[in-house]
Structure formats: structure tokens, C-alpha cells
């Protein structure tokens, strides 16, 4: 019997997250290339869009259902998924490297005694064996790494492996009522940050650095971000100075991001910052100092005054968007 890969899918508030479909597509691809059986597992109470999984190529879906798991519980999720994995005799679990996936994958690996590789950006099976490429040192280096264990847990970086819908059939969903006994860690509520997009999820990021001169000038960054439908990011210097909250920090002690467009305003480009954002598809830099290291990796640069340029850029963008 061939081995089996299970796509472990993330839902929040009863809806599968968009990154879940990237996991499905990737699981299908790996299953084809490595000759594996495939299925998907969703944990939670009620999940409304579970049938969408079929559009991405997996027809066997197992819903591990419990009202106790309406909210995320690392211990509870790990328990019910590990039990199911043993029962289904699966060897390979695939998750997205989101906040939930990052938290859960190591538990699962430890529980089922699997090898763990996280944050994959490339998967190569051309030798018949899976070789995973992933960034280390916040992207200053890349490693090719492989599993030495029969059981494997792998997470893939969000936004890298695109979900491909092929409008497949409605999947066969099996609901299994579960009753987790270990709820030692459990989420009781969620505090949404003030209506803003998160840098970790955004397709476009507008970031500000020390060149913005003070927290009172960040409304310029916010307005440009708003015009673009982008998230606001920040350099370590301005976070450490207390101008911006840490959740906006991009770089080695903040978030590593791979958006389609990254606009760096008044950011000189310290090595820690570049490590966190240089995998953006397009980089724009606006900075007074034409010798700033940020220009070495920017596709387009304006070596000028952020206070002059940002408002005009914002207006131009607004014009286009209103057309």
C-alpha cells in the first residue's frame, strides 16, 4: 500500500483560511510526484466551506469535530490529529507555516515521533526523494534539507505555493466526533488589532523607518498603505524607539515577509531588515541617502525626500484606483 499524505487544514471561526488551499494544492502535487495517497483533515466545530477542498484536488476529507475545539487548542488539536494519523496509518503531514501551523506542527512531530521541517519555500522530488529548500538565519542563507525518518511533518511558507483550483468534484466528507482530553492550552478569545492588515498576510507592504523622523509622520505611511490596500510595516529602529508596535516590525527580530510589492520609506536597509524582506517580488525604496544599502536590492528607487514624495505618490495611486 502506498504511503499517505494528510493536508492538515486551518480554519478560524468556522471558515477554512485561504492558505489552507495552498496546502491542499501542494499535498496533491507531492502525492502525484511521490506516489502517495492523499486526504485532508480539518479540526473544529462547524466548518462552513469544507466542500471547497474538492476544487483543489483532494476528495477525501475528514472533519475531526468537537465543540471543545471551536477555538484553537494546541494540546487538543495535537491529540486528535495524532490519534487520527495513527488510525489512518499516514506518514506525512503537511501544514501552512502560519501562526497556527507554526505552533501545532512541532507538537505533532514530537507526538508521532516524526522528523520536522518548517517554512519550506521549494520542494524538489526529481531524485525520487523529497528535498526541501528553506531559509535560515532569517533568509541570509538557504538550506536544502531532507527527512531521515519514515514519518514526516512539513510546513510550507504562506504565499509561495499558489493554490490551484481545478473545479473538481464535491469531496466525500467524513465527520468524526472526537473528544479531546488534553485542553491544557486552549484559546479563549481573540483580540483583533485595530482594523489593520497584518504584514505577515499582506500582498503589499508600505514600511517606514527612522527617516520618517517621528511617530507623528507615520500618517503619511498609513495613507499610502490605505490607497494601495497595503499593510503598514516598520523597521526595528522605529519599533525599538516606540514609534510603532512590534507586530509591524519587518526583519530578523520581526516578521519575515514575501509580499508582491514592498515599499520602503526612509529605511536605510540594515542587514537584519534586508534579511526579512528581500524575497519580496518587487521592492521600491524612497530614501534621501542615495548610498543607502536598501537601493542595492530595490527594483525602483527615488533618492529623495520622503515628506515630499509620499504624499504625491499617494495621490497618484488614488487617481489610478479611482479610474
Amino acid at each position: 500500500m502506498p504511503d499517505k499524505i494528510i493536508a492538515v487544514l486551518e480554519q478560524r471561526e468556522g471558515k477554512l483560511k485561504r492558505f489552507a488551499f495552498e496546502v491542499v494544492t501542494t499535498a496533491v502535487k507531492l502525492a502525484n510526484e511521490l506516489n502517495l495517497e492523499k486526504e485532508a483533515v480539518v479540526v473544529g466545530s462547524n466548518v462552513e466551506n469544507i466542500n471547497e477542498i474538492g476544487n483543489y484536488g483532494i476528495n477525501k476529507v475528514v472533519h475531526l469535530k468537537s465543540d471543545k475545539l471551536a477555538n484553537y487548542s494546541s494540546t487538543g488539536y495535537a491529540e486528535v490529529v495524532a490519534n487520527y494519523v495513527n488510525e489512518a496509518e499516514a506518514d506525512f503531514l503537511l501544514l501552512s507555516n502560519t501562526a497556527l501551523g507554526k505552533d501545532l506542527a512541532p507538537y505533532l512531530a514530537a507526538k508521532i515521533n516524526a522528523g520536522l521541517i518548517v517554512d519550506a519555500v521549494k520542494l524538489d522530488t526529481s531524485t525520487g526523494e523529497l528535498v526541501v529548500t528553506r531559509p535560515v538565519y532569517a533568509g541570509k542563507a538557504l538550506i536544502d534539507v531532507k527527512f531521515k525518518t519514515l514519518k514526516k511533518v512539513l510546513t510550507i511558507r504562506p504565499n509561495i505555493f499558489k493554490a490551484v483550483s481545478n473545479n473538481g468534484s464535491t469531496p466525500e466528507v467524513t465527520v468524526k466526533e472526537v473528544n479531546p482530553s488534553n485542553l491544557k492550552s486552549r484559546v479563549t478569545s481573540f483580540k483583533k488589532s485595530e482594523g489593520k492588515l497584518d504584514v505577515a498576510e499582506a500582498d503589499i507592504i508600505v514600511s517606514g523607518g527612522r527617516g520618517m523622523k517621528g511617530p507623528e509622520n507615520f500618517h503619511l505611511i498609513e495613507k499610502l498603505a490605505e490607497a494601495l490596500g497595503a499593510a503598514v510595516g516598520a523597521s526595528r529602529a522605529v519599533v525599538d524607539a516606540g514609534w510603532r508596535p512590534h507586530r509591524e516590525q519587518v526583519g530578523q527580530t520581526g516578521k519575515t515577509v514575501s509580499p508582491t510589492l514592498y515599499i520602503a520609506c526612509g529605511i536605510s536597509g540594515a542587514i537584519q531588515h534586508l534579511a526579512g524582506m528581500s524575497s519580496a517580488k518587487y521592492i521600491v525604496a524612497i530614501n534621501k541617502d542615495k548610498d543607502a544599502p536598501i537601493f542595492n536590492i530595490a527594483d525602483y528607487g527615488i533618492a529623495g525626500d520622503v515628506f515630499e514624495i509620499i504624499p504625491i505618490l499617494t495621490e497618484e495611486i488614488k487617481k489610478i484606483k479611482s479610474q
Binding site: A109, A141, K148, F190, L261, I283, F295, I302, G304
Partner: protein, 250 residues
């Protein structure tokens, strides 16, 4: 309250990374090693919890690594931790190996709370705290930016996409600290002097074989520098045109 804190000795974040001759690891020549930045938040939190709980509470620092990791243990001792234990190995363990090394040692104590950094800035796995919790049978919260004790329950707030999750935890627990949890203190001169008298005990790490294998390490291909379109607002029109027509991103 019995408090543990786990620390890791890592290359300074300001280091340029060069690949060594084996093409599987970094060239350590000229690289400065520091306490993992997230571990400083873990140490600070451990010290705060010791101060709050009073009595004969102690903070014990653990690290898995070779002799040089003692420098990082000393840093934690200089900040105010009470004693250090080096779980010694010359091997470069994967996260599971580090968690095993730690759990084999930690299980013989009676810890209420174990603090770690949310990830070490070398391999960036973000995996040791959860694996340690699993091996010890503890609860765990990662990426923690706020922590409170109420009775026998701990409430942690963890950063996730778009906000914070409030997590209720049963003791004993493992807490993986994120930047923002606190402001780590600087080691005072007195702290540094006192740290010299504190003991660091060496224990051998349990034998372990890595579950993953690095076959190659390289540095990402350097991006070609792009174009500087101008030095003032007159360049904006061209920038917008390029973003629309060439990059097709807006």
C-alpha cells in the same frame, strides 16, 4: 515557584553569513555569538516571575550546546538567574534533539514554568518550546507578548495574524517569549561580578540522532540593484508607470 529558562547561543543578528567549505554550515570565522535575542525576553520574564513569587523561588538556566554556550548562560546569570546547567554536546542537533536534551534534564526537577525564546535566530524553527512541552507533558503557549497568573491558571496573549489570541494554560507550562513581552534588563557590573561566582554544571546530552539532514547550504542569489528614477517628486509619475506596466503590481 520553580522556574527554568532555556537559552541558545547564536550568531549576532548583525553578522554577515558566509558558507563554510563543507557547503552545509556557516563559516564561523569572525562571527560574534550572542544570547539569542528572544531568550533575553525569556530570561527577563523568568526573573520577574521569581521576584513576584518571592520565597525561595529560583531561576535555573539551561542550554544545549558546546563549551562556548557557557558565555550565553553567563549572560543570563549576569542578568540575575541563579544557576546554570550546560547540557553538553559537540553535535549540531535539530530542534527535536535540543528539546530531547532539555526534557531529559528538566524532567528531574519540579518546574512550574519554563521560559524559552519563541525561536532561535539561527535555524528559525520555532519548534523547541512546543516539543519540550510535549516531551514533558506540559501546556505551552508560543509567541507570547503578555502573561498573567490567576490562581492556578495562566493567561497568555500570543501574536497571530491580525491580532492576539488569549490562551488559558494549566501549570506546569512552557512559555515561548516574543519581543514586546517585557524590556530585558541590562546586566549590571555587580551582576556580571556575581555571575562569576555562580555555578554552571555540565551534564552530557543524551545520545540523539538527527531526524533531518542538511544536504546543502547556500546564500540566496543577490538581487540585481534596480534603477534610481530620480531625486524628487518628478520621478513619481515614472515610478507609478513602472509599477503598473512593467511590474504589473498595482
Amino acid at each position: 515557584m520553580n522556574i527554568a529558562v532555556c537559552v541558545s547561543h547564536v550568531p549576532d543578528t548583525a553578522s554577515k553569513i558566509k558558507i563554510s567549505g563543507d557547503n552545509k554550515s556557516i563559516d564561523k570565522t569572525g562571527v560574534t555569538y550572542i544570547i539569542n535575542p528572544y531568550d533575553e525576553f525569556a530570561v527577563e520574564e523568568a526573573l520577574k516571575w521569581r521576584e513576584k513569587s518571592g520565597g525561595d523561588s529560583k531561576v535555573i538556566v539551561f542550554s544545549v550546546g558546546n563549551e562556548t554556550s557557557k558565555e550565553t548562560i553567563k549572560k543570563a546569570l549576569a542578568m540575575g538567574a541563579d544557576e546554570g546547567i550546560l547540557i553538553k554536546t559537540e553535535n549540531d542537533f535539530d530542534s527535536s534533539g535540543i528539546a530531547k536534551g532539555l526534557s531529559e534534564e528538566l524532567k528531574s526537577y519540579n518546574f512550574d514554568i519554563v521560559f524559552c525564546g519563541k525561536q532561535s535566530v539561527d535555524y528559525d524553527d520555532s519548534a523547541v518550546p512546543q516539543m519540550l512541552a510535549e516531551f514533558l507533558g506540559f501546556s505551552c503557549a508560543t509567541v507570547v507578548v503578555d502573561l498573567k497568573l490567576e490562581g492556578n491558571k495562566i493567561t497568555a496573549e500570543r501574536e497571530i495574524e491580525g491580532g492576539r489570541e488569549v490562551v488559558e494554560l494549566e501549570l506546569p507550562t512552557v512559555i515561548a517569549a516574543q519581543k514586546g513581552l517585557n524590556e530585558p534588563r541590562y546586566a549590571s557590573l555587580k551582576g556580571i561580578m556575581t555571575a562569576k561566582k555562580k555555578t554552571i554544571t555540565e551534564k552530557p546530552a543524551v545520545p540523539y540522532e538527527n531526524q533531518t539532514e542538511i544536504v546543502k547550504m547556500n546564500t540566496p542569489t543577490a538581487k540585481q540593484p534596480g534603477r534610481i528614477l530620480g531625486t524628487d517628486a518628478s520621478a513619481v509619475t515614472e515610478l507609478v508607470r513602472l509599477l503598473r506596466e512593467e511590474a504589473k503590481v498595482i
